[in-house]
Amino acid sequence: MKSFIRYSIVFFSVLFLMVSCKKDFLEKNPPDQIPDKNFWKTQADADIALTAIYSYLIQGYNYTNANNTGQGWGAGTPYWETLTDNAYSGAFTNVANGAIEATTGTIQSDAYNTSYKAIQACNIFLANIGNVPLTTAAMNQYIGEVRFMRAYYYFLLAQLYGDVVYYTRPIGNAAADPESYQLGRTPKAQVIDSVISDLNFAVSNLPDNAYVGHVVKGTALGYLTKVYITQGNWQMAATTAKTIMNSNKFSLFTGGYRGLFLKPSQTNNPEIMLSGRYQVPNAYSPADYLYTYSASFQPMKYLVDDYECTDGLPITASPLYNSNTPYNNRDPRLLATVLTPGVLFRGGIVFVPNQVGANSGFLNKKGVDSTRATVIGTQSDQDWVYLRYADILLMYAEAQNELTGPDATVYNAINAIRTRPGVNMPPLPAGLSQADMRTRIRHERRIELALEGQRYFDLKRWKLDRTIIPTIRDPNGNNNRTFPLRDTLWPVPQSEMDIAKTYGNTNFKQTPGWQ
């Protein structure tokens, strides 16, 4: 019986241990994440929340999939050009070919989804930043950066989808916040007004410095110019661009055109005004893999043929052009932008288009480091340039030409781009008419900003998409592209319509033409 008692004591203690072990035995919280209630206490919290908002500059469609890395976003931004006469990709063919549907997906839904992720993050930030003890100036700078970002994404949405759901406070669960699930689409004009108001706040509260990673006053002014020029508000566009030009915080990069898009010269580059910044190995760019490993992205001959010869004449007119050596004597920006046959790439391999299935005959070179051997997953560090001073000059020239015709400031702006070191193209001939100058500016925009993701939006605002796109034939010999007029505004994802229905949201309607 003695041993019985002994055993019993042992086992009652076991039982006691099991039943009474720590009171928080059932309280488990994620050790790698910060509870909501402990956040928004210090400036460090504001900094890491702000960082997350910036990170959307390099997140996008399928960006972690080695086979599709970030098409349309960050270093994948050139994919927007596949919707134009500049490039071809199998990735977004139905959008490019005028066969968009509400169910198409890829860029058609991703532009929507990713933008709203960033917008909600901005709204959460703005709703909570007041809890962090900060000086008014510091507070306003945070708010300015975040309102800039919110404006950036709403502007993208409005350009693509027209009227969009617009909200400025965080959305909660359907049970707690039912009215947010009954939102309709705010008219585009109203969205643009809000975008302008956000940008104006940023202009007033951001430091007037050069860009080194955070958006600055000039960045906000630059996007304000973009919004105005997209609206056709030439006066405001020209004035705003002029403000940037007069600030002397930015200038054209004189170290070579190609250097704008490669890492060593991107740090403290005076021309860059906004970029998606990459860093190996934590936040690497897919660029070198994306543009050389396969022929997923191919610049088209239409673009290549549009580069002038070094005498400033088009290839159809220049005596310097020889169709046997078509890439000689050309605007140096051609070989800095497009990988042509016979040029070394992937760390020293000769580019033979057939061998990589590049039916167009070309691959992208802008922002691609040809000295890097590429395999799937190659990590690149080049920043993706979203806004640079050359764009400001081009926008100024465009707006001023529309306002007053080709005055000296228009010539100065555009010739500054053409004649800068490393480009050295002849200045535009004097005495151009306003219409001729318009054509020249549009041509210069295409060449200067080629494959930077601008042309789709440019064609849209010039209303040239409907005339140019149907003349394009994809390089693999398929049918001509088409551009039904309704494509000027995209449908929102079909799932968005289906979901609205289940919440009984009758305010939310499909884009006109897609109902």
């Binding site: 929340a49 997350a52 997140q59 909600q120 910044r277 190995p281």
Partner: protein, 1003 residues
């Protein structure tokens, strides 16, 4: 006084059989002639005859003075003790829906993973082997259908020797029994995670007696069950077909006639070959399993030790799996009232595999063309990329992967438990058990730089590209988890006259902590020789790690009551708390009730002599599910700082150093609670003519408050919260029958199982269309039903196209025609239809075994009916990344061959022809029903007189075949695969056909 003789059904006297007067403590034992004599009180007295291994018999005395009894052998059936939750029960007293299988039955087949052996053995359990890949079979276990659509999952809970554990990590020879608990009544005692049923596994214990050494050997010759045999691997034919396809696909990439002519009359057959790539990738291998068993015991201490070794090269080159297993079980009776014991499993596994998996290796191989082999014809050993890259480049060279770029995974797994059992009073027992599982896995993924050349490359030519090895550099990942569990419980059994009571009460606590640590260097190494992290370039190095924890606390209880073994009642209850729920929702109570009525024990049934046993069972109960994400309700800011995870919030403002970022990425619901499953079960157990046992069950399993993420508008910009929302129903029917008999010297047994289940999604919210796998989740249909266009024939003429509804992709004659379901003259997304067949209508199996003298034989067939397979891509669509078409495409539509079954030939991914023909439609939905001879085994046990001479006590040799034959309409590859909702590709690693030879020696 009553007397008589007790004999078995062969007429042999049963010496030692016990005769007892029911309700008293009077009993006598039969003598060596089986005779007994016992005093009784009166005619109403009942005599109970019992003997180990025989069915007990009860006789009411009445006016009789002599009662002769014939007792039937249980054949290991009726009086069997069945393992149930936290205890055991006599099978005859069961009221819940339980199925069980013993070691002998299980080990009739030979497998490296014991999970495989359960297929078709347990009605109610459906087991699909996702692939035959060595060490990565990915068994999908479902008890009574897909229980829920939540991330909680539908996999049953596996309990090994009383504690949660792993079945895969056991050696099949060490398993004593496997039981599945299917209904709420039997499973509710495991309330927490029993919603998908429970699989109880016990390992072999030693028994008192002489030390016994045994050795099992099995050598299996393994090859694929099925491979496509009609791919065009004739180079000239391939190229000609390509050119036709290129015309149809409007592609300018063609082979020239001169190129084709090289292969028609090759000047150098080595340079212009006809390579069958499947012959290169697939192989026949020899699998070995060894098992040494040591068992015995004396003076109340018993032990069982098993040592196992499995060497399993894969049928696909490069892949392999090896495992070493140690099992040690010990039980010791300390004294009259205390027993201690425990079991320990250690498993070491080593697996080699391609980092993108076997399916990728398979499809990469299928994308290769017959005009070249894996290595250059010049004998330099360089790997090939392609022969004519300007026409079509293939996927990666799978041989180069298999020979250079395999992931090396080592797994150390421990599963231990100890217990002490104390009899406090007569009938009152106290059992405490505790143990832990610990798993450590190290995965080393070295990504070498391998150049690939053109087939015709000269010695100095540059490579065409480097091999895609899924990244670069090297990644080493350590995963480990520790999972301690303990319970303590009291059981009390009491008989009061005809009333039998058994009560159980206990408490259990569980804790799990998983940790991962990953280090990598992400740029190419300077050589391929140093496969360690330290040798790589430091600039690209990354380290990451994390840990997660969860815990459970439970109180459980059970009451069994029966009246005279005739009316049975059982109640279970479990109160559970989980760390995964917010404070208000942590606790939940899961009750269940079941009743049984053994009709044959009623007086009025006594006259029916052919009906030996008839039991009606019914049960009702609820079960819980908490196995969702570890932290589903916490509102947190996530800081995911590595790019190669799904979301990252880090950003580099300077471009040189990284800034940490954090964001809310999900809405949360802080009021969530347990997901519930309510199961109603009605069943019948029958024994007829002594030798025929039949069990039938009908059930209705209703899951509600499913923890799922509702669809929310994308403009919310956050992931949807996990909320209690959604309902699903599984209704079904299961039956099994087994007949055991004897004709002359032949003992035989035949039987079968049948199970049918119907899944219906009752409440879901907005229908969810998954374009990735062509399925839809919509209320009123099975979860993940097929959803696609309906194939309506092949366009034969432009007139037919003109008068048909407007189809997408500018159809031409030879294209597919789809049905205009909504009849609006246009084929678009609205014309997709729900097609049944995502789940099988029913599964079935047959078994038969016979023994004659020293020979024995068993055969086992398994079938599945009504499941459709959506199979597309490589091997089905022609020239997908250049993949050779099947010879069916020789009969493709052409104007002169107006086929109605094969459209025109095209290049997959090119132009309208591909868009049209590749449209997800019923054209690709194939009947996946099959019946296969899973196993056939013939054995011979050597006569004792012979084996004695070689110092053995028994020796059996056998030959066995697995997956010997398959009857199916599905062409090419194996129809036994996971549902198409998770895989739309035709290519999956095939199952294995195994011819094995083995022996079992006992010394």
């Amino acid at each position: 006084m009553v007397n008589g003789t007790i004999k078995d059904d062969k007429g042999t006297a049963l010496e030692g059989a016990v005769v007892r007067v029911k309700g008293s403590n009077k009993s006598v034992v039969a003598d060596n002639n089986g005779n007994y004599s016992i005093p009784v009180a009166g005619p109403e007295a009942v005599l109970v005859f019992s003997f180990v291994g025989y069915v007990s018999v009860e006789e009411t005395v009445g006016q009789r003075k002599q009662i002769d009894v014939t007792m039937a052998s249980t054949g290991g059936k009726l009086d069997d003790v069945v393992v149930v939750g936290y205890g055991t029960q006599k099978k005859k007293d069961l009221t819940g829906a339980i199925a069980t299988v013993g070691s002998a039955e299980l080990n009739k087949r030979v497998a490296t993973d014991p999970t495989q052996l359960l297929q078709g053995k347990l009605p109610g359990l459906s087991l699909t082997q996702a692939s035959g890949e060595a060490g990565n079979e990915n068994f999908v276990l479902r008890i009574r259908g897909l229980g829920t659509n939540s991330s909680a999952g539908s996999s049953p809970l596996i309990i090994v020797d009383g504690l949660p554990g792993s079945l895969t990590n056991l050696d099949p020879q060490n398993i004593e029994s496997v039981t599945i608990l299917k209904d709420a009544a039997s499973a509710a005692i495991y309330g927490t995670r029993a919603a998908n049923g429970v699989i109880l596994v016990t390992t072999k214990q030693g028994s008192n007696g002489k030390f016994q050494l045994s050795y099992d050997l099995n050598v299996g010759i393994t090859r694929p069950t099925a491979l496509p045999d009609n791919l065009v691997y004739n180079s000239a034919t391939y190229m000609e077909m390509w050119n036709q396809a290129a015309i149809n696909s409007n592609s300018s990439n063609r082979y020239t006639q001169a190129q084709i002519d090289r292969y028609i009359n090759p000047s150098d057959p080595n340079l212009y070959p006809n390579v069958n790539w499947l012959d290169i990738l697939m192989r026949t291998v020899t699998t070995q399993t060894h098992h040494i068993g040591m068992t015995g015991g004396r003076n109340g201490t018993t032990y069982n030790i098993g040592l196992g070794y499995v060497d399993q090269p894969d049928i696909m080159i490069g892949f392999s799996y090896k495992k070493y297993n140690l099992q040690f079980n010990l039980n010791s009776k300390i004294n009259d009232w205390a027993t201690v014991g425990g079991s320990m499993t250690f498993n070491y596994g080593k697996r080699l595999y391609a980092s993108r998996g076997s399916q990728d290796q398979f499809l990469s191989t299928l994308s290769q063309q017959p005009m070249y082999g894996p290595k250059l014809p010049d004998g330099s050993g360089r790997y090939v990329n392609s022969a004519y890259p300007n026409v079509q480049g293939p996927n990666k060279n799978a041989v180069a992967i298999a020979e250079n770029a395999l992931v090396n995974n080592t797994d150390y797994y421990f599963q231990n438990n100890v217990y002490i059992n104390i009899r406090l009073l007569k009938g009152l027992e106290w059992r405490t058990s505790g143990g832990f599982n610990y798993d450590f896995q190290k995965t080393k993924d070295f990504k070498p730089v391998i150049n690939q050349y053109n087939w015709f490359a000269g010695p100095n030519d540059a490579p065409e590209r480097t091999l895609d090895v899924n990244g670069q550099g090297m990644t080493v990942t350590d995963n480990n988890y520790i999972y301690p569990v303990g319970y303590t419980q009291l059981t009390y059994a009491k008989e009061i006259g005809y009333h039998n009571f058994k009560v159980l009460a206990g408490t259990q606590a569980e804790y799990n902590k998983a940790e991962v640590l990953t280090g990598s260097r992400n740029t190419p190494y300077s050589t391929n020789e140093q496969e360690e992290l330290i040798a790589g370039p430091t600039a690209s190095q990354l380290a990451t790690g994390n840990s997660t924890e969860w815990s459970l606390r439970s109180y459980y209880g059970r009451l069994n009551y029966d009246y005279d073994g005739k009316y049975l009642f059982e109640a279970n209850g479990r109160r559970d708390a989980s760390s995964r729920f917010p404070p208000g929702g942590k606790w939940a109570f899961f009750p269940s009730f079941s009743v049984g009525w053994v009709i044959t024990r009623e007086k009025f049934m006594e006259t029916i002599s052919w009906l030996n046993m008839l039991k009606l069972r019914g049960s009702w109960g609820t079960l819980g599910n908490q196995n969702i994400g570890t932290y589903p309700y916490q509102r947190v800011y996530s800081n995911l700082n590595a790019y190669n995870t799904n979301i990252q919030y880090a950003y580099s403002f300077s471009g040189n150093s990284l800034n940490a970022g954090a964001a809310l990425n999900a809405l949360t619901d802080e009021t969530i609670h347990w997901e519930n499953t309510r199961v109603v079960d009605v069943g019948l157990d029958v024994t007829l003519f002594r030798n025929l046992n039949v069990t039938v069950d009908w059930y209705d399993k209703f899951t509600y408050d499913i923890l799922a993420q509702p669809s929310i508008p994308a403009y919310v910009g956050l992931t949807a919260p996990t909320i209690n929302n959604g309902e699903m129903r599984n209704r079904g029917f299961e039956a099994s029958a087994q007949y055991t008999g004897k004709v002359a010297d032949v003992n035989y047994s035949v039987g079968g199982t049948f199970q049918a289940n119907k899944n219906t999604l009752l409440k879901f919210g907005a229908p969810q269309i998954n374009t990735g796998n062509n399925t839809i989740n919509i209320e009123g249909e099975p979860y993940g039903s097929f959803y696609m266009y309906k194939f309506a024939g092949i366009f034969q003429s432009t007139e037919e196209i003109a008068k048909s509804p407007k189809q997408q992709f500018n159809p031409k004659p030879g294209y597919l025609k789809f049905e205009d379901i909504v009849d609006d003259g246009v084929i678009d997304a609205k014309d997709r239809v729900i097609v049944p067949g995502v789940f099988p209508k029913f599964d079935y199996s047959f078994n038969a075994s016979a023994s004659w003298k020293n020979f024995d034989m068993t055969i086992f067939l398994y079938g599945s009916y009504g499941q459709k397979i959506y199979a597309n891509g490589w091997g089905v669509q022609p020239f997908n990344q250049g993949s050779p078409p099947t010879s069916d495409w020789l009969n493709a539509w052409t104007p002169s061959n107006p086929s109605t079954t094969m459209p025109l030939i095209y290049i997959t991914g090119q132009g309208d022809a591909s868009s049209n023909i590749g449209t997800a439609s019923t054209f690709y939905l194939k009947d996946g029903s099959f019946l296969r001879i899973k196993n056939l085994q013939v054995g011979y046990t050597l006569p004792a007189s012979v084996v004695k001479r070689i110092a053995m006590s028994s020796l059996r040799v056998f030959a066995s075949g697995d997956n010997l034959a398959t009857f199916t309409k599905f062409k090419g590859l194996d129809p036994e695969r996971v549902p198409s909702s998770s895989n739309t590709r035709y290519v999956v690693h095939p199952q294995n056909q195994v011819f094995s030879f083995g022996l079992k020696a006992v010394f």
